[in-house]
Amino acid sequence: MQWQVGSGLSIGAILFTVIVVAAMLIWVERRLLGLWQERLGPNRVGPLGLLQVVADMIKIFTKEDWVPPFADRFSFLLAPPIIMIVVLMSFAVIPFAPGVGVIDSDIGVLFVLAMASLGAYSVMLGGLSSNNKYALLGSLRAAAQMVSYEVFMGISLLGVVALAGSFNLREIVMAQSELWYIVPQFLGFIIFMIAGVAESHRLPFDIPEAEQEIVAGYHTEYSGMKFGMFFVGEYLGVLLVSSLIVVLFFGGWLGPAFLPPIVWFALKTSFFVGFFILLRAAIPRPRYDQLMRYGWIFLLPLSLLNLLLTGAVILWKQGGGL
């Protein structure tokens, strides 16, 4: 078997790696938070606490899987798989390395944005069907957050799309062989980074969960494996946004030839995963109306400006004249 986009080997390896890495991120996050808070973090189970994930999984699988009698059973059961499926689907279009990927889609960027929007259903359905005031507040906030970040998230990517002239993520990476898009699209990168944090519901924008304010937000009523799916879905989201940042702005697998492309991709992605965790350790959470105001009044015009300038520069370089 060969490494080929869409081959069984490729799909299997990606699915396996992505899920295992997302589960390991639980350990990575706790260790890194410990490091930055002058603690140790989990270090008891296995070498360096690496098997902590196994212990957590055993715990989560053997827990009572309880559906509250007052919940709307169908949508309550439907919500957790949505986020897992949707985020895993988004990984289908990510180009990990030449020949490693699930599909080579010409609408890759659009597909990822569409899946990100679908992911919001999981949070909203989970919160609403729980029939619990904290969950309701959580999903209310999730809805408010979604309408504020989705718009500028899409627009911030259009600069990259305009430069590469393609929605195909693989072609976007190839177009960066001269210069990574972080340089011409620095503004777009910052805006997408902020939107990405909001998209994966991570601190400082974990407003729908906000454990200090509304217990656990939308997944207050969830337990056992259903909670586990929300939990792993969050880390899958971190991984997805990190790899999207790498693909769109940091040249994907491109890098000096002394390391294989997949290693470059993994290194860059893990850098951004680490940065996500640093954000969580450092930045406090805003109110959700502050996020909405920030999104609509500041970031949306900024991303439009970015798109406008990018378009103007492209036209000028084509020599169309004024």
Partner: protein, 179 residues
Amino acid sequence: MLRTIKDSLISQFATLWKVFMHAFDRTDTVEYPDVQPPMFSRWRGRIILSRDPDGEERCVACNLCAVACPVDCISLQKTEDEEGRWYPEYFRINFSRCIMCGFCEEACPTHAIQLTPDFEMAEYVRQDMVWEKEDLLISGTGKYHDYNFYRIAGKKIGGKDKGEARHEAPPVDVRSLLP
């Protein structure tokens, strides 16, 4: 507007940088079961009953500790030996109630009951949290090495009459004061 944006950006990045630099600081965690935490000698932990320098029980069963105890975890019964010394027939501390306040130690007139820096008192059976006198008694003198209640107090016991205690004047013979 621009000033606000600039200031808040600088503030966010300064925060990120400062938190990141904590990675190079020493961790404060003491890995407890592997490493014993530094304990202080005046820490109020497990309660013991000490003995005087002669190896006798210091406790005179005065019940002051049981009275002082705010959670009523001490229970004891006074008895007397043939020499006239008071001692507890039983002395029982229910450590599932004890709040390690140290009031009993302050109330004790004979330095018998003392708190130690030991805190590892977990048990699987609740009844095991009740410690009897044999469990509480230690062989040493605890924090006060030279103190011996019956050598100082004026009480008459076997082998020590009135006026024979340390620094004690002999009893006044009222008849000798006659003119």
